[in-house]
Symmetry: C2
Subunit: 340 residues, 2 copies
Amino acid sequence: MMKVTVNDIARVAKVSQSTVSRVLNNYPQVKQETRKKVLEAIEELKFSPDFVARSMVTNKTNTLGLIVGDISNPFFAESAKIMISRAQEMGYDVIISNTNHIDSNMDHAVQTLLSKRVDGIIISSASRGSNKVKELHDAGFAVILHNSSVEDASSNYVVLDNKKGAIMAMDHLVHLGHEKIAFISGPSKYLNVYQRYAGYQEALEKHGLPFRKTFVYEGEFSYDAVYWFVQRMLEEKERPTAIFATSDQMALAVMDAAAGKGLKIPEDLSVVGFDDMTISSNHYIGLTTISQHKEKMALLALEHLISMVEKKGESADSIHMTLEPELMIRKTTGPPKKIT
Amino acid sequence: MMKVTVNDIARVAKVSQSTVSRVLNNYPQVKQETRKKVLEAIEELKFSPDFVARSMVTNKTNTLGLIVGDISNPFFAESAKIMISRAQEMGYDVIISNTNHIDSNMDHAVQTLLSKRVDGIIISSASRGSNKVKELHDAGFAVILHNSSVEDASSNYVVLDNKKGAIMAMDHLVHLGHEKIAFISGPSKYLNVYQRYAGYQEALEKHGLPFRKTFVYEGEFSYDAVYWFVQRMLEEKERPTAIFATSDQMALAVMDAAAGKGLKIPEDLSVVGFDDMTISSNHYIGLTTISQHKEKMALLALEHLISMVEKKGESADSIHMTLEPELMIRKTTGPPKKIT
DNA sequence: ATTTAGAATGAAAACGTATTCACTATATTT
DNA sequence: AAATATAGTGAATACGTTTTCATTCTAAAT
């Protein structure tokens, strides 16, 4: 089953291959009559153009890269769905790279995406000190940071005001009467979690509450690790009455651990998350959380990337967007029970 | 910033372009000395080979396509993560196409994947009557069906014994004492949901229970649609005491609706799902469900696809694997309350 | 009838690599 | 020392398009 090429149609349509190319690309200056012949030949031989060959010469692949720490985290999966769908509508495909939150994987992913000549890259989980990101940006490559940005201010990004979000969450807990509030962090190499942590601390200070090292988990995004950490923390006599987690995924681990200890939420323990994954709004879960407006964020990142790609060269004004967080109060937070 | 090509290194290393290519591809018959020169030049100019150009001639892109109905469904996201990670380890990238469960999107996705010359395609949500799938297979293209297969028996697939799984779920409920069991289906154009439906019916019959049309939801995979359907169903006086849903995602909608109605699970209503997404095992949710062994299934599909791709031509024995389901009993099922 | 402008087409080059084929240097055998 | 085999290298071609440039055709203008 030989591949049908543009030459084959040229032959059966009795025109040159350039002409075939012209009708493929909808050039105006081809006569109706010959256009018809070509189209018929295409139909007859079931020809469809080879994108690889086309990319060779146009220097465009119509393929984007999406680098993500963990596609199985619903926040990323939901964001990815939005981006992919929109990208497809706009004529692009997307290669997803999953880094498992390992920096070297990300560098490697970038390298192979470049080798495959993707037109642009969205990075959803960039480490804040990443050199690769700066390199890409400095080289004039179309790249946009989504969800988490880097310290070097020059790169393009669409993120949330994470610190503000964290403060909103904390304010909510404090106003309910909580004074012992734990924080479940993630790897602070990510600027977004770093900023949330900063928000946590700032809020404590603002409300005159002491910072306790034992009340914070700082480590991998590991369900199990968080689960065990929380279980242990809840066994202490000086246990927190509320826990603020840096992601909904982690918040679920917290709730899981609390359930394992026989604690009722929110009576015995208040929990607030961050992300607002779809499932969090389920009545059965009803997680109080900070909404990232994931649809908007994903769409903005994607569409800006594509516009960067398409007007390569012209007005390359940089994209610096930070969205407003929103507190979603649901059923996992309430006033603390007076512990005697 | 001009692109560095193989010719550039040939020039600085003072060898021919072919020789450079040879060291790139680790050909044995190149002298240590010249190999060293080339490697140094590569290092110096920071050259990295262009995969597009390479694909042109090798006819291999080291890129796979993954077509999925909805990447935001955790079952698919988790499967995708497994496949992507393993693929990357094996030197492949993956383009994800999201069809939103629309058949024409899938046909279109296949077409563009072919145009981009992916080496193989995994289809996670194939409609059971899909012609495209058969076409692909007949054309000798490397394609494997994952999760849901097609009626035409010739295609390669790795799936679950869905009917058996459904029967296991039903048996569990019946043994607990349930007699009024509703079924939340999805679009029956998917063979896997079709088979689960068949299992539901067969189990009813086996246990001498009547089939009631009003007890089955048959429609889109829509959280909201299921939510409202269940709410309404629970208002009837002849309401079911248990609901079996064709996916965990739908089961969550069921639980959501039940919670909305103030019903306790499992006291007032038992719920069984299907898939065993990670989150289902959360103590706070504790969804009784049928495990699909998603890791095994995903890995098998991916690895078989790659082996098909790599030994193109040789022993193309077909892959027909159906895995055994497993009942995961957790906290959402229990004996029915005697309703008087 | 002749020139001229523009429309329509074809020939050829280019994109960056792998690979075949021919050739040269080196080592082995006689 | 000659003949032969083999290791190492280079020149040229192919992959399937788009695009530039030159050319032919057509119709309008003189």
